[in-house]
Symmetry: D2
Subunit: 392 residues, 4 copies
Amino acid sequence: MAIEAANEARPARIRLGMVGGGKDAFIGAVHRIAARLDDQFELVAGALSSTPEKARESGEMLGLAPDRIYGDFREMAIREARIRNGIEAVAIVTPNHVHYQAAREFLKRGIHVICDKPLTSTMADARKLMQLAGKSDALFILTHNYTGYPMVRQAREMVAAGELGEIRLIHVEYVQDWLSEPLEKSGAKQAVWRTDPARSGAGGSIGDIGTHAFNLASFVSGLRAEELCADLHTFVEGRQLDDNAHVMLRFAGGARGMLWSSQVAPGNENGLKLRIYGAKGGLEWAQEDPNRLWYAPLGEPKRLLTRSGAGAGPASLRVSRIPPGHPEGYLEGFANIYAEAARAILARREGRPVPPEVVYPTIEDGFAGMAFIDACIRSSQRNGAWVGLQIP
Amino acid sequence: MAIEAANEARPARIRLGMVGGGKDAFIGAVHRIAARLDDQFELVAGALSSTPEKARESGEMLGLAPDRIYGDFREMAIREARIRNGIEAVAIVTPNHVHYQAAREFLKRGIHVICDKPLTSTMADARKLMQLAGKSDALFILTHNYTGYPMVRQAREMVAAGELGEIRLIHVEYVQDWLSEPLEKSGAKQAVWRTDPARSGAGGSIGDIGTHAFNLASFVSGLRAEELCADLHTFVEGRQLDDNAHVMLRFAGGARGMLWSSQVAPGNENGLKLRIYGAKGGLEWAQEDPNRLWYAPLGEPKRLLTRSGAGAGPASLRVSRIPPGHPEGYLEGFANIYAEAARAILARREGRPVPPEVVYPTIEDGFAGMAFIDACIRSSQRNGAWVGLQIP
Amino acid sequence: MAIEAANEARPARIRLGMVGGGKDAFIGAVHRIAARLDDQFELVAGALSSTPEKARESGEMLGLAPDRIYGDFREMAIREARIRNGIEAVAIVTPNHVHYQAAREFLKRGIHVICDKPLTSTMADARKLMQLAGKSDALFILTHNYTGYPMVRQAREMVAAGELGEIRLIHVEYVQDWLSEPLEKSGAKQAVWRTDPARSGAGGSIGDIGTHAFNLASFVSGLRAEELCADLHTFVEGRQLDDNAHVMLRFAGGARGMLWSSQVAPGNENGLKLRIYGAKGGLEWAQEDPNRLWYAPLGEPKRLLTRSGAGAGPASLRVSRIPPGHPEGYLEGFANIYAEAARAILARREGRPVPPEVVYPTIEDGFAGMAFIDACIRSSQRNGAWVGLQIP
Amino acid sequence: MAIEAANEARPARIRLGMVGGGKDAFIGAVHRIAARLDDQFELVAGALSSTPEKARESGEMLGLAPDRIYGDFREMAIREARIRNGIEAVAIVTPNHVHYQAAREFLKRGIHVICDKPLTSTMADARKLMQLAGKSDALFILTHNYTGYPMVRQAREMVAAGELGEIRLIHVEYVQDWLSEPLEKSGAKQAVWRTDPARSGAGGSIGDIGTHAFNLASFVSGLRAEELCADLHTFVEGRQLDDNAHVMLRFAGGARGMLWSSQVAPGNENGLKLRIYGAKGGLEWAQEDPNRLWYAPLGEPKRLLTRSGAGAGPASLRVSRIPPGHPEGYLEGFANIYAEAARAILARREGRPVPPEVVYPTIEDGFAGMAFIDACIRSSQRNGAWVGLQIP
């Protein structure tokens, strides 16, 4: 057992509300665990379902006070903004098409927003939300949770420090198999909404998981994608959205890349992998083995960096809780987004600037993700022509 | 993203106290995260350090009410047993030599005890504690946390179901490198007490990590070790306890095994590995890759079982929180011990029997661990003669 | 040690000549080991270098009779075709631009040709050579050696048997790092000719290793690529040919794929990997770990098939020499191409039809590889437009 | 494709005979491939079976001249020693109980012996053979073939150079599953003789594969085992020899170790693994992944050394044939023993001393292996008491 102390919770919990995340939801429970892990947030209010009865039941199950269980997020925003000790932040964990409307209500009342990805279900909504956020004093944190993994932070730090030299190649993929068959026809809730354009937006696999891959590539490389060409495809008959996407990328400065998202590749559970190569070295990371990072300095043996182990730098150490060799996982990575959010929110609360080392995905990242989806669809509609990404 | 809902917290939190786990401690923070993860416990009191000033500071940092910050565990036991809404359970996370005395104070007042391993620092204390626990109405839960990993539960279930046939071989090891040099001389707190017989007891590596390996082997195989022969050794000059142990084992029913614990094997962080083979198949699991379990049915290709994936049975599914492909780690496994403890404590609170599927390491497991340490030392003193384990 | 007998050489060695493969060459020595491994060939003549002095020295080093060391391949073809016990087959292991002329001389004299890939350095040569081979009685075997690996045969057999269902996705890559720096400027022989369009042809990485990847995808899937779009790039300044290629593919029947070849990805030695997914299952194989094949039947745990192990079928068993768990490597795989060639040549010698289970890459495969290079270049020149592959 | 030239055969082949290795044998064919791979040997005579008919058939199948097919090894030794261009070396590939008698006939006639392991079937034979070899001018090479793997050479070189510091721990295992059931009852030839004390000697798994593990540990560490304690066991009912062995070891200089051999661990094919740790670093190697070697310098990230890759030293480079990333396997490693034998035999033929870099297992290594088996049995008979190894 190594010797660093685990991260320690501090008092002064942030009062948190939640939109969505009721009884059958998957990601709401993940957000709640993530918020709880470091003891920085206290869930005190919720509009947990669009079905009032379910909203009430879910709120009771979570032990919310009856007067802070809301049937509607607008009502919650209005009242919580007004009452003493109302929520300081809200987690929006609904299907995509609700993100914009919900976020708007809270942002305009100065309540910080922690929002699931993709940002919205349409480009138009994304643009409006970005403008709104730009004018609000409230913070906007997007839960591209994979950026919370310590070894992803480590990779980003090494790239920024020039340890790979100039970046040439970025290969990223997010591959699953759970939609290999028409699961949505069986009524499985997660499958139904994620394959429904009305709720998910125009992207299927590209929106649900492709945006994670795209965000990860951008986050680690620090490079802006300028152009892409895409071949989206739906393999399962009758499905309305893509279930597989092949994308080639060109980045500012000359790097090139490939991105693959799939929900129909048997044997893959959550195969998010990033490989990035520069003139002087390479890095490889896989989400299913998140505590390790391969580092290959050109002309030297490959090295296996481990979380909190020898070779780990400050960017990963500050988001690690336990010694090397004891794996941290998905929930810990997700919780790091909440921990960063907490640091930023507490700074705001106390009138301090957000410390420079605090890093979380922003509304700009969310917009870039929407621009990515949009460009993939435009390219694919033009039979894979190269198109520009409209990232401001 | 797959479709199972994550575990959901229920209200009615258990009021928890803590002994030890103050500012510089490592494992106390882990216990607190584990207790918090599923929202079943609320830390309300603590005797967090034997140094009063540090106890106070630590308690304040954790947001405890001033009158529930104690300078002494006995004082805490007496008062908490008396006050309305006093603690229902206590976590004991001190160095080993304090376990017995602390546990006694709470057990005899009917407060449930969640205690770190090894059980005590001497066999005599272990015996007394086991008698005490036998007479108390309170539960005793030992945090042999590795038994909380879902795929360890999966392995145990498969062995019990006879999928390996009669067990023939058990190979287990827990290998580290952090004491390869005399770190204790530099004053590193973890190294100092873990190499000090007065605080650790008579076992060095064999007590600190060998007991975990031994417990894991017993937990998964369901077999009782009857005899062992051991070759303990101290490689680092001036160290008072063993830093490496080689052990051969014979189990009831005829299975045989090897156990290796080491703190001086460079390149190993927390290399706890179990391999178990029967007449019809084998299983292999490694703590650093805890979401996977290799299953080799004799004469068929090996299969890789994943947490919550195809092939996962009820024993692992009930302690999993998220879908396959999103790794759960050490903290989640640790939290499963707390979750099981919560289920048992709530059953007691409500006068129900503890449900049969609830599994956690007991005081008997703790005693078996002490008997293991004791047998290793006896054997090693007799130049590796085979000796019996005195497990009642 | 398992129990199958290793493959056994039979007498009646085939008299073999070699063009190229003199002293500094790399691949010539590999061909000679491959030809020797199963004792089916005897090297008796050679035109081992275009430099006469080197040809002579090389021939002597290999113990060739002085009158069968030739300074010129045409001279060798003419004389060997005429003498009693002249060569029955020739291995052509020169840089690419020589393949066509050399192969022509032997084919038209009825001498079987075993030729390195890619087929030629130009499409025009490829077309002429294919016509010539079509008219000749001699066999033409292309050493796309990776098709000789047993587990590649296993994968192909499983796909053909429908174990994956209808194929949807093919992901293949061949990634190296040895040209990350301008090695050709240092005069390194392998780097010089492989980056020289006059000797390599129009493809850099795409010709040297991309064709292997393309061939492997075709070989295992049994599918014909119909369209592709490509983004070729040269990262190292001053280099004349691509050192990285990104390609998207569409196959007859609707499968889609991605192909990546690179010589500039630090940390990759010979990273040839194939992943292929159908409606009912997936397969994954990596050249650097060639004795294993991952098989994922949809909805069941992944299985690790091993060479000669449980689950290995006849197509892989017939090209395996030793029991499972004892790795066979690159040379054994290469030798399997020679062993298949020997089976075909002996059948011809004895007037028998070539047995149906004998499989080796043909001139059609070579032509498909040339069409692949050509299409990549055409697409890339049109900024990645989708173009058809001109495979007859 | 990287740039080093492959090893090149030189003329002047060594005339080789073979004892054993007829039609149903396994290891004879392996020896023949190994002898052929680098073109240094020519098989010209054989006493391939103790059954005359089979000896004749086998010889014809291998293309031996009729007058050099012998029904008896003694006859072969006598005649070949007398004729012009008789064999210079003989490969003895029979079951163990024949080794001594056969080797004696050739050694005393000055014919070099390449002999399978274990050395003999009894300690008495081993002693006599060692004396005989000491007096003979002929060389004695034992095919502990795993010492031929390049990365094993690399490991040995690194230990000798002090890169691990003083060696503390050696963990080695050779684990199989092929005898999990009573295969010998089905008449499978390999199973029958390997479980028969009359042909194998007193060791079952410990003799067949445990000696390989022991030899590997000694070869890499350069340390002499002084004491061991062993727990041999037979799990399969009715079997006459051990099918599993647990051994603890103490080496000269203070290092300690564990050794495990098993033929009854389902899921293991040829799991020979070595882990060796010193005060400054550790190494890990596995036979099933032989081209890689993990190197962990204490306090630094682990490094993955690859055959012929960056970090490979002269001891491994001189026995590598092809560039990194193209796997070499079991046959190549076996062939390295033959290549070393050839270098030594050619030196003798030419009156030169054997070059110092030439390394192969000797009769002393063979004797040490016999002493290891003997000590294991003595210890096990005394219920695992520590016993000395009688290595001169």
